[in-house]
Symmetry: C2
Subunit: 118 residues, 2 copies
DNA sequence: CAGTATCCTGATAGATACTG
DNA sequence: CAGTATCTATCAGGATACTG
């Protein structure tokens, strides 16, 4: 039931939310899954540099926090798909302004497009 | 000029923004400074558990990233005030939805109030 | 008051090899 | 394919003492 790594120890909402997305690759995982459901191997390829161990543990934590859903298909070869839960979708939406801020003030003035970006 | 700890290495805006606020106490510092400018000792008291070393290094990084302004008053005893820059204010505003998400979905249904919270 | 200077530790992540 | 199991490395953060 408890979400995050330090249940009940948060000072405020941002502190709590930060804990859920703390992890070197977590926001990138959320970004990738925002488009569509992905298999483990796909995610690994979408996140150049991540190791299997770290990707797996991040996915386990996001799953435990109710952010991503893990669907196992009983096939051979095995197929597992990760997707955002509704909570994950809402988290992504809550992250959008932060992404806009970073894109505008850190990445510099890239071309302005109308559709949602990170 | 470059902002963040890994200039030019960001995949997207959120990745970049996360880097700026990565640090155990940074969002709490931003939260505190959102109200008003604070002295070093005030911040230390507002963040129970932070050590002087960590608080100082976080403030240096936030200053280097253009998020907080450090104003030194040439007095005895010494007085230094930290405040948000306009970029810091914008960052805080971009963090507001994330704070709302965390407050609503992690901290649980606390009493709803109309003014801005974390 | 507002910090530095050292030293130290623990959590997180990377490397690599192996498995159902 | 989708992971687990070990081992190692790094480094952010903490403890403590000291200073302009």
């Amino acid at each position: 039931m408890a979400i995050g790594r330090r249940p009940g120890a948060y000072e405020c909402g941002i502190d709590a939310a930060m804990d859920v997305i703390a992890g070197k690759w977590k926001v990138l995982i959320l970004w990738a899954l925002n488009e569509r459901a992905c298999r483990f191997g796909e995610l690994r390829r979408l996140l150049p540099g991540v190791t299997e161990k770290v990707l797996a543990s991040h996915l386990r934590e996001l799953e435990a926090d109710g952010i991503v859903h893990r669907e196992v298909y009983d096939e051979v070869p095995p197929r597992v798909e990760y997707s955002l839960t509704s909570l994950g979708v809402m988290l992504n939406e809550a992250l959008a302004p932060l992404g806009a801020w970073g894109r505008e003030h850190i990445l510099g003035n890239m071309e302005k497009v109308s559709h949602v970006q990170r």
